[in-house]
């Protein structure tokens, strides 16, 4: 996410750090770099111009004089401006309405509306304990209604059936009626993707909006969108009283400039970001974190949240008990830990959120390789018998050969794993002295290969 921007800006800041003080000249150079970096990250040109102008103005102003070093000052200014551009805070969904609270989705084709409806339904159902009804008013794309129906079934959320022969407004009104009579808390209305210049379709969604009077009208945008994001966002913003934006496909690489553009044009808060294809992949948007990340300061807060979410509490408790009971840490536990880590989105996504140079390092070589190495470790453990897993001391030369053959690795790799395990075990023993789940987390770091 936004890695290129991070890189480019880090480069700029580095060159600035070399200078004793900020002058008109070196600021101009730096600002040109910032401009290019933002353009390459698909931030729309008018937004870029605006941003560069305000940073320049502020950097040359008094705030720089008052600060400790010029380098720090400009990082601060760029960071602040970025945060300002993306909205000051993260707004949650406003569901304070007479139930059912209706949420209408709008966006281009393929932006990810239906998937977002699914993710949102899951979030509302599980985190907010709402009774959710979903309905699809997409009568145009083949199987769009079936797509939502399938998602609803997966989530165990009620789906209001509709049919391509019906009118979207009729579908929505029937769904509202159904939601009222069956006391649903929230009704999510999915709509067909439409081009902002398709007047007939824009009329339709206006009519839909007028008919159901949603409390939230969310504009779904693909984070990969280019310069045209400005035009699209503007058209939708003019047609509909949007209340928020959902930025999707943010797990893709290096873009996200659309976040800045859309926010700038609509002035509406980005409420959620979509990451990953799984239905859990909907996260609140934190402008502060995003800006920090752009500047290479890392997204430690998101990392912590990820860890908390991925960590299976029951599993962790079991582990803690086991350790407390004095029974040693065996290879089975080692494997369980690896699986826990994978639940958190794998090494790559964890490492990406690490600050600054550690993140860069992780990104290039380590990320993909580390994921592979972790898989390999799991494979090796899977090739052991339960007895071997419980008592690794049993594993001598001939067993090692068998394990190596079974998992398709060399004996050396089996040796390496056993050594790593031994070290982890030692560490675990230290922890058991004091106990505590939080320390288990730190323990994981030790078992990662090559870190």
């Amino acid at each position: 996410m936004l890695d290129n921007l991070t890189n480019r800006l880090s480069g700029v800041i580095k060159t600035l750090r070399g200078h004793a003080r900020l002058t008109e000249d070196n600021i101009a150079d730096a600002m040109r770099e910032v401009r290019m970096a933002l353009l390459e990250a698909d931030v729309a040109l008018p937004v870029v111009k605006n941003f560069v102008a305000s940073v320049k103005e502020r950097a040359l102003g008094q705030e720089v004089m008052g600060s400790l070093t010029p380098g720090q000052a400009i990082i601060g200014v760029v960071h602040e401006e970025l945060v300002k551009l993306m909205g000051a805070q993260n707004d949650a969904l406003n569901l304070a309405a007479v139930p059912p609270a209706i949420v209408l989705m709008a966006g281009l084709q393929g932006a990810g509306k239906t998937t977002t409806v699914g993710k949102l339904a899951k979030l509302l159902k599980e985190k907010h304990k709402k009774k959710v009804l979903v309905v699809s008013a997409d009568v145009y794309r083949p199987a769009a209604i079936e797509q939502l129906q399938t998602l609803a079934k997966q989530l165990d959320v009620e789906f209001f059936p509709s049919d391509p022969s019906q009118k979207p407004v009729a579908i929505a009104l029937a769904a509202v009626d159904h939601a009222k009579r069956h006391f649903f808390d929230v009704l999510l209305v999915d709509t067909a993707g439409r081009l902002a210049i398709d007047a007939a379709m824009m009329e339709e969604i206006k009519a839909l909006h007028a008919a159901v009077k949603p409390v939230e009208t969310l504009f779904v945008v693909d984070a990969m969108q280019g310069q045209d994001a400005v035009n699209t966002a503007q058209a939708f913003n003019e047609a509909l009283p949007l209340t928020g934006v959902v930025l999707t496909k943010l797990d893709g690489d290096s873009r996200g400039g659309a976040a800045l553009s859309v926010r700038h044009v609509t002035g509406k808060p980005i409420k959620f970001i979509g990451v990953g294809e799984k239905l859990t992949g909907l996260e609140p948007f934190h402008p502060e974190r995003m800006a920090s990340r752009i500047l290479g300061m890392g997204d430690v807060l998101s990392l912590i949240e990820d860890v908390q979410k991925g960590m299976d509490q029951a599993e962790a408790l079991k582990m803690a008990k086991k350790l407390k009971s004095g029974k040693g840490f065996d290879l089975e536990d080692f494997k369980a830990q690896i699986q826990q880590m994978r639940k958190m989105g794998g090494m790559v996504s964890l490492m990406e959120k690490m600050p600054g140079q550690l993140g860069q390092l992780a990104k290039g070589v380590q990320g993909a390789d580390a994921d592979k190495a972790v898989n390999r470790i799991e494979g090796i453990i899977n090739s052991m018998t339960p007895q071997e897993r419980a008592k690794p001391d049993l594993i001598k030369a001939s067993r090692k050969r068998r394990i190596a053959a079974g998992s398709g690795v060399t004996v050396q790799e089996v040796n390496r794993l056993l050594k790593q395990f031994e070290e982890t075990q030692k560490m675990m023993k230290q922890f058991t002295a004091k106990g505590g789940i939080s320390k288990l987390m730190r323990g994981m770091k030790g078992m990662l290969p090559g870190m």
């Binding site: 290019m36 353009l39 390459e40 990250a41 698909d42 729309a44 040109l45 008018p46 281009l108 084709q109 393929g110 932006a111 990810g112 239906t114 998937t115 699914g118 794309r141 083949p142 199987a143 769009a144 079936e146 797509q147 939502l148 129906q149 399938t150 998602l151 997966q154 081009l195 902002a196 210049i197 398709d198 007047a199 007939a200 693909d222 990969m224 969108q225 280019g226 310069q227 045209d228 994001a229 035009n231 699209t232 496909k249 797990d251 893709g252 690489d253 290096s254 873009r255 400039g257 659309a258 990953g276 294809e277 790559v348 993909a368 994921d371």
Partner: protein, 369 residues
């Protein structure tokens, strides 16, 4: 960005009027400054065209009209909106006057907002500058020709129509990120090949997304084409079955749909590599064409996508979809520079006929005229 319209208003009016009658299907939707100025002028000059095309929603007017048009006209009408933005602003630029730094800067703005990206824009501007000084061009309107030529030279290598007659069955693997328009493109491609008298078979390789199979089945039903799918399971297995079946039935073209995937999802990239391997196992030498479907709305990430999918699959072609919006798809200029994979088709509308082979000259003309 429209400030320069105001600045050069008097020279603007003339060229806009002269181009208007040749493209009656491109009435301005949002009244941008120069257009407002020129509208009454058109009315007095060619009242007939105005009565035909007054509705502000251009798409609604184009849809019925485009059915009987030749495909170049269809491309033009499909790109009308694109041209409306880019072309009109260029018409403003090229309206006359001298070539100066301001003009170049405005040109840069236009190219950048078309998603061409910084390197391609810099390259094009350098080319144009060279042409201008070589030929001693003085007038801003001559700059247009120079720019068109430079752009043409850049994207011409992408113009390589798809040849499907070497193999039978000819296997086409479709790949792309989520929501690029793979399944819709398959529906259109099926129609396109049927129009050439070829028999087509579809393989529902998107086993991940909800109702993807049903969506493809619907396209199959519309085109009267067999769709091979499985209740659950492995994309590669579906493809294997489809190819076996195609060989048995002596089908000409097999279109393989796959699930959308982002290049950062390494396991999914591995999966699609496997699909390709299994296809090769089912029919040695296949797939004969690996197509990446790109959304014209995508910015510079399209280039990353091309690189990632090319590294994984060895792409042989691209499809650029959703060109009927306001997006200009300028990123193909960046692709042409860095990873020139042939652009086989462009999607210019929502009906089944709106997928067309790519012609660089027509694309540029449709963009600028």
């Amino acid at each position: 960005m429209f400030s320069f319209f105001k600045k050069k208003k008097p020279p603007v009016v003339e060229p806009v009027v002269s181009t208007e009658p040749t493209t009656p299907t491109a009435p301005p939707a949002e009244s941008i400054e120069p257009v407002v100025v020129s509208e009454p002028v058109i009315e007095t000059k060619v009242p007939v065209t105005v009565t035909v095309t007054p509705p502000p929603p251009p798409v609604a007017a184009e849809a019925p009209a485009s059915r009987k048009l030749s495909w170049t006209e269809r491309l033009k009408s499909g790109l009308a909106k694109t041209r409306d933005k880019l072309g009109k602003s260029l018409a403003g630029l090229f309206g006359g006057g001298k070539i100066d730094e301001d003009l170049y800067e405005e040109l840069e703005t236009v190219l950048l907002t078309a998603d061409m990206g910084v390197p391609a824009t810099t390259h094009l501007l350098k080319e144009v500058r060279e042409r201008v000084s070589l030929k001693g061009l003085k007038d801003a309107s001559e700059l247009k020709g120079a720019l068109k030529d430079a752009l043409h030279e850049l994207i011409l290598p992408l113009e390589k129509p798809l040849q499907t007659d070497q193999h039978r069955p000819f296997i086409i693997l479709m790949a792309g990120v989520n929501g690029a328009g793979k399944t819709t493109s398959i529906g259109k491609l099926a129609k396109y090949f049927q129009g050439q008298g070829l028999s087509v078979l579809l393989a529902a390789g998107d086993t991940f997304r909800a109702a993807a199979r049903e969506q493809l089945a619907e396209w199959g039903a519309r085109n009267n084409v067999t769709v091979i799918s499985q209740e659950k399971g492995d994309a590669a297995a579906v493809c294997f079955d489809a190819i076996q079946s195609a060989i048995a039935r002596k089908i000409d073209i097999v279109l393989v749909d796959t699930a959308g995937r982002l290049p950062t999802q390494l396991h999914l990239m591995e999966e699609i590599k496997k699909v390709k391997r299994v296809i090769d196992k089912a029919l040695p030498g296949a797939p004969h064409e690996a197509l990446l479907v790109l959304d014209a709305n995508t910015g510079q990430n399209a280039l990353t996508q091309v690189k990632a999918f090319d590294d994984a699959l060895g792409l042989t072609g691209l499809i650029l979809t959703k060109l009927d919006g306001t997006a200009k798809g300028g990123v193909i200029a960046a692709i042409a520079r860095e990873r020139p994979v042939p652009l086989r088709f462009i999607g210019v509308g929502e009906t089944l006929d709106d997928l067309r082979p790519f012609h660089a000259r027509d694309y540029i003309d449709a963009l600028f005229d």
